[in-house]
């Protein structure tokens, strides 16, 4: 009988520079693998591919603003799901909650286009927050009262939201029968988030900066944040010290849903000025990944969402300029993200090979 070739040992602790070295190595390895695949599959010079990726993401001023704007939206949704995740409430319904918020914003813009701005803007904001919160709190109430499975419940709520948007897209289609709402108030710009210092997206970004600070403080320094952590770590401990677990679940999902509602507002009123069932475009799910990769740390989330938006935008450029299939850029982003997540294993564990036991 032989000793196994290697065994896996859990690391007790790792210095921060070592863990970042592992992450950098993982990205480098991912880039090398991507280059090899590029050469093998397309025969193109990988450097050209990388060049077009970078220029696609940050090549022009407009693209840089688009990158910031995209990051802001993804970050906003990631921050929104974070309190729920800290509580181990697996909210997979961000997509639907954002859509609900967006739908409310679109409805206000359409129906209240003649109202003065001082009434219209608060109306839009309040309704999108409310819509998101309601969409988030329904599964929470069921979870608290009857212990239903929140993962499935929130997931199903996504499809309900999409179909509601589809319904209104038909109802309010411009022109009738097209099934599309089209740009709302394109002549008056009523309910559009105004440009700041001539920058269309600056206000969006500032709002998300504010939310980032709020969530950081809320989770780290507030009593609510503390309660969320206790409930997430151990429901028994929470009950033991007298935390009303049901109340915390419901309260946290109202917050989570409300912030998703804000993201919906930013998407409709601040970016697209229209709504369709694919407005959120899967970012509700990407946000789950962002929140996890960042280990629920809002500051790290900024970096992660920027990286992901960078990759997606850059990859989109590859497929257009180099005439490659869209799926090819998806392969590249997939590999890079897989390596980034996978390297966490090597940060938490190390491998000891046969005959090298002495090594500490």
């Amino acid at each position: 009988m032989k000793e196994p070739l290697f065994h896996i040992v859990k690391r007790d602790s790792i210095s921060w520079w070592k863990s970042w070295l592992i992450r950098l190595a993982a990205i480098a390895a991912a880039l090398i693998l991507c280059s090899v695949i590029t050469v093998l599959l397309t025969g193109l010079n990988p450097m050209k591919v990388w060049g077009s990726l970078i220029s696609g993401a940050v090549g022009t001023t407009r693209r840089r603003w688009m990158l910031l704007q995209g990051t802001a939206i993804l970050l906003c949704i990631s921050l929104a799901v974070t309190p729920a995740f800290r509580m181990r409430f697996w909210n997979t319904g961000a997509e639907g909650q954002v859509l609900a918020g967006g739908m409310a914003a679109a409805a206000c813009m359409l129906l209240g286009g003649n109202l003065p701005g001082i009434i219209l803007y608060p109306l839009i904001i309040v309704s999108s927050i409310l819509a998101g919160a309601v969409w988030g709190v329904i599964p929470a109430i069921f979870k608290a009262k009857w212990n239903t499975n929140e993962t499935l419940f929130t997931l199903m709520m996504n499809y309900v939201a999409m179909k509601i948007v589809d319904y209104f897209s038909q109802l309010w289609a411009v022109p009738k029968g097209s099934g599309k709402i089209g740009v709302i108030n394109s002549s008056t710009n009523a309910g559009w988030l105004p440009a700041l210092f001539g920058q269309t997206y600056l206000l969006n970004i500032l709002i998300v900066v504010g939310i980032t600070i709020f969530i950081t403080v809320y989770m780290r320094f507030s009593k609510h944040g503390y309660e969320i952590s206790v409930v997430g770590e151990s429901e028994n401990t929470a009950r033991y010290i007298g935390i009303n677990v049901k109340k915390v679940i419901i309260r946290t999902m109202i917050l989570s849903g409300a912030l998703c509602g804000v993201a919906g507002f930013l998407l409709v009123s601040g970016t697209d000025h229209t709504i369709a069932s694919e407005t959120v475009g899967g970012q509700g799910f990407t946000a789950i990944m962002v929140s996890w990769i960042a280990k629920f740390d809002p500051v790290v989330m900024v970096v992660v969402s920027a990286l992901i938006v960078f990759l997606t935008r850059g990859a989109g450029e590859i497929s257009t300029t180099l005439g490659l299939n869209k799926s090819f850029s998806d392969i590249l982003t997939g590999i890079i993200i897989l390596f980034i997540i996978g390297c966490e294993f090597f940060i938490n564990y190390r491998m000891v090979f046969r005959g090298k036991h002495k090594e500490a």
Binding site: M1, V9, R11, Y226, S234, T237, R239, Y240, G242, I243
Partner: protein, 509 residues
């Protein structure tokens, strides 16, 4: 008899991350003897035996079975060398019968022949004096019966070398007697038997030789006939310590907590507490004895407001004015808002009493974070409390910012008990407060409980070691299958008397 040792370990070392669980250990086990491995919790006893049983693989060193060097990489390898281990936590399939569990995992061609297996089980049973019904389902069995199944399982596979990890921890005194009789019969049959334990009186009673480990290191091996409990303790702890628990007479005990006709069902709708009535007095330690899982946990949780009550009442008599507060159907927060200072050290320390991933300061906050109107946390007071507990109770921790999960069992418990006592309780409930603790920490906890008693606190102490319960408590309430089977005076009761009460309790299933 065979003169070659059954097992010989040479220079065995094993690391888990930075922790050296076993360091350069040499020992032998012979056929026809019972060897005890003695050591405190965390001294590496179980790790060492797990390497022989194929659960872990040693980082360094050699294992010799019958004089030949072997590599044991799985439990299946271990069986090939006729080595069997009975783990502390049983590994049985609840819905299978004893015989089905015993043949499970054996490589046989075709179908299992359960009938033949059952016959062989009966054969083994009569040979060694086990009492077991091979066709009984595991979920219908008592803890002691399950242990018997585990032992027969390894004998069935032909083991000549048996290792038992803390086999007496879950048994009553009567069951321990039976187990020891069986072990002696196996020894006479020429088998090599290793028992892992930290209970000195059992070591003295059953074993021929004792190997002592301390903090992962080999201290020595002695013949049981040539040693005594004090010497063994010294080897185990590394210094002389006195094993006496002082017990003062209760000072003017007054009734503090009255529990009457308590009936509680668990989530599955099974009755876990059946008509429990007792009084806990201030200035007194009320011990609670019983086989584990007889309703002790539910009783304390019910008093703490964590379990719904079907019938019965809990009344608290306020010190000073004697006003009676009804605690039934109150949540922990409502109980505290009434001004009832009820502290509770639960059995599940990291799963209920503390939050493992949080640091010591944040764990102090659990009790106090609600104070004040601010929406933000105030960490000043909890921080000074954390520092005080670290200093006064000698908590070994890198800092007050260390997650409590990283601390050893004894230090985790000091943090929890320290926090609960800091709340200046009038009732202090502690469930298995010394489980898994080293001797020094255990005695510190006993001392703290005594101190609370002298301060006039009504202390309720759920314990598993009957010697300790008898030495520490004033009265002992014995609980069996959710019933009170007796309340005895701890100064006059005997261990056997309590052991008998533990197995009573009606509604035999």
């Amino acid at each position: 008899m065979n003169t070659i040792p059954a097992i010989e370990l040479r220079h065995i070392s094993k690391r888990f991350g930075p922790v050296l669980a076993n360091s350069d250990i040499n020992m032998t086990v012979n056929y026809g003897e019972i060897l005890s491995i003695l050591g405190e919790n965390g001294s590496g006893k179980t790790t060492l035996m797990n390497m022989v049983a194929g659960i872990y693989f040693p980082d360094e060193g050699e294992i010799l079975v019958n004089g030949e060097e072997v590599k044991i990489t799985s439990p299946r390898d271990a069986f090939q060398y006729k080595i069997g281990m009975i783990h502390q936590h049983f590994k049985l399939v609840d819905v299978f019968t004893a015989a089905e569990n015993i043949v499970l995992g054996l490589k046989e061609d075709g179908k299992y022949d359960i009938k033949a297996a059952a016959n062989k089980v009966r054969e083994i049973s009569s040979q060694y004096g086990f009492e077991i019904d091979p066709d009984k389902k595991i979920y219908e069995m008592s803890v002691s019966e399950k242990q018997t199944v585990e032992i027969i399982k390894v004998l069935y596979r032909g083991a000549d070398i048996l290792m038992l990890d803390e086999p007496t921890a879950v048994l009553t005194p009567q069951e321990i007697r039976k187990l020891f009789a069986v072990l002696n019969r196996m020894k006479e049959d020429g088998k090599a038997i290793v028992i892992i334990t930290h209970k000195l009186n059992e070591v003295m009673e059953i074993s021929d030789r004792v190997t002592v480990l301390r903090k992962g290191e080999y201290v020595g091996t002695v013949e049981t006939d040539e040693t005594n409990e004090n010497e063994l303790t010294e080897m185990m702890v590394g210094k002389k310590i006195s094993l006496n628990i002082e017990r003062t007479d209760p000072k003017d005990p007054v009734e503090r907590l009255i529990v009457a006709h308590l009936n509680v069902m668990n989530r599955e709708g099974m009755k876990v507490l059946d008509d429990i009535s007792f009084v806990a007095n201030a200035g007194e330690i009320l011990g609670i004895a019983g086989i584990s899982g007889s309703g002790q946990r539910e009783l304390l949780e019910t008093i703490a407001g964590l379990q719904p009550i079907q019938y019965g009442g809990i009344q608290y008599i306020r010190p000073g004015d004697g006003v009676i507060e009804n605690l039934r159907d109150k949540t922990p927060k409502e109980i505290r808002d009434l001004g009832v200072r009820l502290s509770f050290v639960p059995e599940d320390r990291l799963g209920m009493g503390l939050v493992g991933s949080m640091d010591i300061i944040d764990n102090m906050l659990l009790r106090s974070y609600r104070q004040g109107r601010s929406v933000f946390l105030k960490k000043k007071e909890p921080e000074s409390l954390a520092d005080r507990i670290i200093r006064d109770l000698e908590v070994a921790t890198p800092s007050n910012r260390t997650p409590v999960r990283r601390l050893s069992g004894g230090n985790v418990q000091k943090v929890l008990v320290g926090r609960e006592i800091a709340a200046a309780p009038t009732v202090l409930m502690a469930a298995y407060p010394v489980r898994g603790l080293d001797i020094n920490s255990s005695y510190m906890i006993y001392h703290l409980l005594n101190e609370q008693k002298e301060n006039g606190v009504a202390v309720i102490f759920v314990g598993e070691d009957l010697d300790v319960l008898l030495a520490l408590s004033d009265r002992i309430l014995v609980i069996g299958r959710g019933h009170v089977t007796g309340i005895v005076d701890a100064r006059t009761a005997s261990k056997e008397e309590i052991g008998l009460l533990m197995t009573k309790g009606g509604h035999a299933s």
